[in-house]
Assembly symmetry: C2
């Protein structure tokens, strides 16, 4: 493998000195790009796009041809693991992901297999290898997975949810069954991320999209506990290179102190969390990634530049910051606005990295 030409992202996650703040964007490979929509149409369906390593590689690389991002992120779906467990993932127009066989009871949980990622998720592992090869060491590649709790919400609800009635019902009524399910998911997620690391992922991120729907005590017991378990099972080094890890709980701003003790190198921040306060609370333990409001990308470029400056200024001087949005980019953002954001990070951040 070629050495990294741009390792700013990795260095920032490890809080090593950098010349400028690295930047990438959640969902940077996606619908806001016309070239993505073209490949998506060619693939016929979203799932075809995810399961075809060549197409997944192509859409992963697309945003890097337009913007000076400091990292690539594997293009894939968050629900590949439950699909590999046999739940039958499918997509309906306008309603998001669904499962043909949701998890309904203790028997369903007991029967859940822990999939071998090199078999059932071969298409993801192959995509990672192909992307890593095609990146030619330009920037690092991020692997990712949904968190055990977030995967469990979709598996029990049978798809997206507003109130999380079914999964919380299982959690309240049969906590032991819920714990068994989360334990299996933690093992599956760790194996999946390790397979991505072995195939070439140079950092990994755990997306806990729905951890923020829990009460504080339920978050610790049912989400964070299993994020820790995943972390404990991860490979930490490949060929002498440390593989940094990022934990992102949307709506988790209240719990940063406990999250910072979960063993991850960095925490992702949503846009509601003040990054200045977050750094004061946990910045001695972890790097921080985020956190511009994704909706601000609708505004004029001059305003976007001001918002970038605000986030940089709030984090302040020194390493340990990866610039990102506070959640994924929205599908109808003008790509020129993304360029304004990325260029502004590169233009205005060096001043925060002088001695």
């Amino acid at each position: 493998m070629l050495p990294l030409k741009n390792d700013t992202f990795i260095r920032a996650l490890l809080k090593q000195p950098v010349d400028r703040t690295p930047v990438w964007m959640m969902r940077q490979a996606g619908r806001y790009l016309p070239e993505y929509r073209q490949i998506r149409e060619q693939a016929g369906s979203f799932l075809n796009l995810c399961t075809n390593p060549e197409l997944a590689c192509e859409v992963t690389l697309q945003p890097l041809r337009r913007f000076n991002f400091d990292a690539a992120i594997l293009f894939s779906d968050i629900l590949t693991i439950p699909d590999a467990m046999g739940l039958g993932l499918y997509f309906t127009e306008g309603e998001g992901p669904k499962f043909k066989k949701p998890v309904c009871n203790a028997a369903d949980v007991e029967q859940l297999p822990i999939p071998d990622p090199c078999v059932a998720l071969r298409y993801v592992v192959d995509a990672v290898s192909l992307i890593r090869k095609n990146l030619q060491g330009s920037v690092p590649l991020i692997g990712f997975s949904g968190s055990p709790w977030t995967l469990a919400t979709y598996m029990v609800e049978g798809g997206s949810s507003k109130s999380f009635q079914k999964v919380k019902g299982l959690m309240y009524e049969q906590p032991a069954v819920m714990h068994l399910m989360l334990d299996k998911l933690a093992q599956a997620v760790a194996a999946y991320l390790n397979a991505q690391i072995e195939a070439g992922a140079q950092a990994v991120m755990l997306f806990d999209t729905w951890g923020g729907m829990l009460s504080s005590e339920d978050y610790v017991e049912f989400s964070l506990y299993y994020a820790k378990q995943v972390r404990a099972l991860l490979k930490t080094e490949v060929d002498g290179q440390r593989i940094p890890t990022i934990l992102f709980t949307k709506g988790g701003g209240l719990w940063l102190e406990t999250m910072a003790d979960a063993g991850y190198d960095a925490l992702g921040l949503d846009w509601q969390t003040d990054i200045h306060h977050a750094r004061a609370r946990v910045g001695h333990k972890v790097a921080l990634q985020g956190n511009m409001d994704p909706v601000s990308l609708y505004a004029r470029p001059e305003i976007i530049i001001e918002k970038v400056k605000t986030v940089l200024d709030k984090y302040g001087s020194g390493s340990g910051h990866v610039f990102n949005l506070g959640h994924g980019i929205l599908p109808d953002i003008n790509p020129d606005h993304v360029k304004a954001m990325v260029d502004a990070v590169h233009q205005y951040s060096p001043t925060y990295h002088h001695d």
Copy 2:
């Protein structure tokens, strides 16, 4: 007016000693009650129900006949003010509230009137008088309004929203226009709440349902600033009786310290916020209201009772706690489960109020 037979709710908001923790429930008059659904059907539409003082009074009183709630809350809609401003509120099945004439630009904002509540919102004022009379001093009556920011989101979006693209667009692109709109709304909200107080409301609550969608700095500038302005304009006493005020920002757990300085007597907490930590952070300044996860009411009564005990125990000893859910009750909850919650608060809370 008759003196209050049960003033526990008022006393707890003012942090005066009480024998037990008072309890009420957001959306306690609502669809989970079969007797509500019957009146709702009789009214023909949700708006007919809101605009008819006799029917609004009847549904306000319904939950008090079933459960030992320590307060009644006016039955009304959150969007009565924008409707009175001429935006034309209507409801579509399954899509929630909509406006015929949403606010699109600076000219629309300039033309917005500040409605006289005793004219344009007479039906609400009349409902308050009627409910207060019918309560016969049994428990206090809570008046309420949406916060200026929350009302503005619906007015600019034209209804509910997921990303708040239009209202945040206006906020980012034309902050002065947004401030003019919020200033008008603050005056309208204060006049509306004062009219409710004059008609008999014994406490008032400001619902900032969508403040939590803002970044920390935008929350302070565009939501909290106007909540403070409302508070400064409110009547604080009627006939020597103090009228306590409650501020509830859903998703505002990160900002409790600044919220506690806004002049309100109490803060509402959503279920994600740990009430023990919240008390340690702000409990010397304000009372706290909340915060059981509304979804836990789906669980068996034995589990509900455990959840009640947890919330009571987390708040701990002494006055300053009003038990509530962390958000409104969901429409398909079994009323027997509500009874289990209310009775458990009354049964288990006295131990926290001994000297």
